[in-house]
Assembly symmetry: C2
Homo-oligomer: 329 residues x 2
DNA sequence: TTGTACGCGTTATCAA
DNA sequence: TTGATAACGCGTACAA
């Protein structure tokens, strides 16, 4: 691949002159300018970013370290992050930790080796011993996304409030028993439970939790659940994947949705609109989240002296659809 | 961030010695070795890849330029590509073209600027004037994935054969009328049509094509379709997204699946197993595809003198589920 | 307006 | 076994 020095040789000028022409900084003799530009175009010159960053100490790379790119929620996020980065002349170097702290550690090392200008991280477990210390020690402008980490810039959706929205929705719709499909350590669950408890201090007696991801076990749990007489049940699944799974199982069991069981998912993925019945789901503002995160990151890169830390809680929004709303008329 | 020169200063040796210690190449005085290693550990030294590549002319970067990361099929692919790359000490620099040739061109420029060691590409339109010329001119080891490009290494699934499988499946299951939901320029369609035509030269009279992505239009088309008496209809959707959409519409219309209409999707995404009825779909061997592509790419990087080009057509496999198979018993 | 000289952080080649 | 020294491709101060 052609270099500035090579172009300089071909056009009979010095390398810095070529640099000046190509960067359009200072004034140069129009004739030389043309000659150099022509030569550069002819050989399709592209500056070596590696060399540029070596001298300029800017790599124009943003490290993205996340847990699972195959999850369409994150894939979506990456798409928007890439768009924002590209618009500002940055590129993404991507790492998938697969929820493995080892991979995460490894990725952070590599990220440092590339001297990325900034880092967008979705931690495997932000509460794990030393995670935030580890990241802070990298000394790279960082924004945590989808999670809140104390003392670090975080852009996230309040899962607690989101869960509460679902709880309130269930109350409005007159559900009287509840199933949470997921892990109760999830903040979504906390908010959900709190909202319900507020109206009904004894709601836990009317709550069933299903955590398994295996169809057989889920089905068994549901069959046991339905082995007694039930009132209208509101089911909250911790993401759309699980919600679709749940919907399928309910349908196979012959439970009518939403008449007997209302269902709400999380992430508002494209299929919500397609399913029958259409699936209610909590929408996270993905594009906004990516945009704010990248905007904040670029600001931090541009203002390294500003060591303040910002918290960006965003609002999720429950999109109510047929799966949890009683048919009118 | 600490450098070798800095470590050299701190430990009172020369910088090349530090390099030797850290790379473990040549023998060095054990005492010095320890001293240097200790210092490196203490400051968590990570070599500057930019500097390394400047001299070594290897960046350990693989450029990934694809059309739409938010499509879970590609997201899945990226996950496996990343895994393979990581295993060989490479990292991914990711570009999302969003099906825009401008973005694609731009991405390829940036990829060159970073002097990536290899490129994995999903072209926006591999038949577009100059695409393959453009990529070839980059002079970077490249593997095209999911598409076949003459004269370039390609790893892909034969969509023609995949479509044919669906056609044969419809024949076996006794469908007598057909809907193709997608664009007829798609090779899937060609294979599908050919397979059916073989048995029934006049099958086109029994074929309806729906290309719109808008629910209203699709529904209108279906209503028109069902305005006359119909035999059992086999519907082939060009991907699972569309298949789910189609399924929802059919269910809303009260068309029974698979009794009145059989449905087959494409990509075999996770939800196929969850839906009711479970969705038949053509499975592409994603992991294998990523693994072969990356393997081939690494080979080409390691053997730049070998300019042969390899074609890797893989077999898709139709996974038959309830949505297209008559219930037994 | 242009060229010389230097430095960024490494690796590699020498000579010591 | 170690240390000078050059080189990679570029940007930038400085001198001309």
């Amino acid at each position: 691949m052609i270099t500035m020095t090579e172009i300089a040789r071909l056009t009979g000028v010095s390398q810095p002159t070529v640099s000046r022409v190509l960067n359009g900084n200072q004034a140069v003799n129009p004739k030389i300018r043309e000659r150099v530009l022509a030569c550069a175009r002819e050989h399709d010159f592209q500056p070596n970013v590696m060399a540029q960053s070596l001298v300029g100490s800017k790599t124009h790379l943003i490290g993205v370290v996340l847990t699972d790119i195959s999850n369409s929620f994150f894939a979506d996020l990456v798409k928007y992050l890439e768009r924002e980065a590209r618009a500002s002349g940055y590129s993404l170097i991507l790492f998938n930790t697969d929820y493995d702290p080892e991979h995460e550690k490894e990725s952070l090392d590599v990220v440092r080796r590339y001297r990325v200008d900034g880092l967008v991280a979705v931690p495997v477990d932000e509460r794990a011993a030393g995670w935030s210390g580890m990241v802070r020690k990298l000394d790279i402008p960082t924004v945590v996304i989808t999670k809140k980490v104390e003392g670090m810039d975080s852009v996230y959706v309040s899962h607690e409030e989101a869960g509460a929205q679902v709880g309130r929705h269930f109350l409005e719709e007159g559900f009287e028993e509840y199933i949470f499909f997921g892990n109760t350590e999830d903040v979504k669950y906390q908010g959900f439970a709190k909202a319900l408890e507020k109206k009904d201090p004894e709601f836990r007696r009317r709550l069933t939790v299903i955590s398994s991801k295996k169809e057989r076990e889920i089905r068994a749990a549901l069959e046991q659940y339905y082995s007694r007489e039930r009132k209208r049940t509101g089911i909250f699944a911790y993401n759309d994947r699980r919600a679709v799974q749940m919907l399928g199982i309910l349908q196979r069991m012959g439970v009518r949705v939403p008449e007997e069981a209302g269902l709400v998912g999380f992430d508002n993925t494209y299929m919500c609109e397609f399913l029958y019945p259409r699936l209610s789901s909590v929408a996270q503002p993905n594009e906004e989240m990516a945009s704010i995160a990248m905007g904040r990151l670029l600001y931090k890169i541009a203002h390294p002296e500003d060591s303040r830390t910002e918290d960006h809680p965003l609002q999720a929004k429950l999109v109510k659809r047929d799966s949890s709303v009683r048919q009118k008329k």
